[in-house]
Amino acid sequence: MRLSSEEIEILKIIEENHKISVETIASMALCSEETVNQTIEKLEQAKIIMSYPTLIDWSKVEGHENVVAMIDVKVTPKRGVGFDEVAGRISRFSEVSSLYLMSGAYDLSITVEGKTMNQIATFVSEKLSTIENVVSTTTHFMLKKYKHDGVIFSSDNEDKDRRMVVTP
C-alpha cells in the first residue's frame, strides 16, 4: 500500500509513542485531528498498524520472570502448501510469541514463552515435536535480554539526561 508522506509521518510518531494524544500528533504532523483519526483508523483496518504493544521488562517484576526459549525446527515441506500449513498450525499455540521461516540450517524459528522451563519442555515434547512433518527441534533457553525490538534493556540508563540545566 502506498502511503502519503503525512500518513507516514503519523505512523512514525505513534511508532515512537502510541500514548501521544490525537491533538498532539496533529500538531506534530501539522495536520488536523480529523486527519489523524482517519489515518489511524484506515491503517488499523489495513493492518499496517498491527497492535499497540507495550514492551515490559518482566524480568524486573518479582514472580513474573518468564522463561523464554528460541527453538529451531526442521520440517518436511508439504506439496502444494510448502511450509505454510505447518507454520500456521504452530503459530496458533498461545505459548508461541513469534514464528519465522528461515533460510539456512533449519526451517522455522520459534520463540516460546512460559512460566517455567518445565512448561516449555512439555510444550516442545508434547505439542511441537508431535506435529506431523516436524523432523527435529533444537531448544535454546534465553538467559538474559539485552535488547528487544530496538529497545535496550539495561539498568544502566543511557536515557539519563546528563546535560547541564542551561547551556549556550
Partner: protein, 404 residues
Amino acid sequence: MSLEYNRYLSQTAKELQPSGIRKFFDLAASMEGVISLGVGEPDFVTPWSIREAAILSIEQGFTSYTANPGMLELRQEITSYLGTRFGVKYDPTNQVIVTIGASQAIDLAFRAILNQGDEVLIVEPAFVSYAPLVSIAGGTPIAVATSPVNGFKVTAAQIEAAITENTKAILLCSPNNPTGSTLTKDELLEISKVLKKHDLLVVSDEIYAELTYDESFTSMASIEGMYERTILINGFSKGFAMTGWRLGFLAAPKEFVEVMLKIFQYTTMCAPNMLQHGAIEALRNTYHEVESMRNSYRRRRNFVVQALNQMGLDCHTPGGAFYVFPSIRATGLSSEQFAEELLMQEKVAVVPGHVFGESGEGYIRCSYATSMPQLQEALKRIQRFIESRGVNPKKDTVECHTPS
C-alpha cells in the same frame, strides 16, 4: 596583604561581560526537579557507532598528536561532505582545519582577519560568544538588530545601513541560535550583493546546517562570488549530537587558512586524535541517524510552536536549529523576570532573550531538544504560569498551518 589584582589584568579581558547564560545556569542548577528547556545541545547521546570508533582508536593506540589541521583522512571526509551536501569544493590539503568545536573556529577566524578598530557586524539576537570573540581579537562588534516581523531574518537593507568604512566582516548564523531563523537561498543572494558591493568578508556559522526543516540548507560559500570571501564554520556538535567531543572545523580560501593555521599551531597543536577517529565515522556512516534526529526535532518544533501560540505567547515558526523564541510581552514581565519567576514558580528553565543582545528583550529561548513527555509537561507548566499572569489563551488558533 593581597595584590592589587586589577593592575595585572588585561583591559580587554576585564571589560568582557560575563555571559547571561552563566547566571541562569547557577540559578537553575541549584534547584531540584527542574525541567530544562534551557539547553543548547541535542538530547540524543552521540550515535553508538561514533562512540565505538573512538573507543576502538584508543584500544589501537591512537594516542599521539595528529597533523596540525587534523588527520588528512578526516579532512578528506570533511571536504567530500561539504561537496556532496552543500555543493562547495575545498582542498583537504590546505583549506580545512579541524578545531576544538565551532567555537574555536570562530575565534580563529576573528583573530586571523581583525585589526584594532575593525568592525564586525553581528546579527542579533545572537549566540553569546560572537561579540566577546570579536573584542578579544581587537575588533569592535556592531549589533544589527532583527525582529519577529520577518521571523528574525536579517535583510540586505539592514546590513547596508550598519556598514561603515571600518566594517571588515559580518558574522552570519543560519539557522540561528537563539531564534532558529533560517535564511533561504534567495535571501542569502540579496545579502551577498551588499557584501560584495562593500567588499566585506563573511564568517558563516553553519553549525546548525543539518538541522533545517522546511527548505534544504544553502551554504553562504555556495552563493556566486561569495566563496572567496567566506570563512565557513561548521562542526559535529549539533547535527551529530557530539557537543562534549569539542570537535568542529572551518574551511576557507587557503590564504585565510594559512594564517589561521599559524595561530592554531601555537595555541592548540591539533584536535584530540581519538576523537577525530569518531568524527570520521560520523561523516562516513551515520547519515541515517542524523536524519532521524532531524525528523524528531521537526515534529517537536511543530508541537511546541503551536502550543505556545495557543496559550497566547506569540511564536514564529523557525526554519531550523532546535530553539523557539516566543514573545513574552503579553505577560508584562521583562524576559529576565519571566525566566526567573517561571523557574521559581513552575521549575521550568528557559533562557531570557536579552542575554543574546538587546533585541532579544521581550523574548525567551526555549530549546525543544528534550523528550516529548518532558516538553508536554513543561508546556503545561508554562501555560499555568502565564494564566496566573492573566494572559488569555487564543481560542481561535487555526488547526492547520504550514510553516513559513
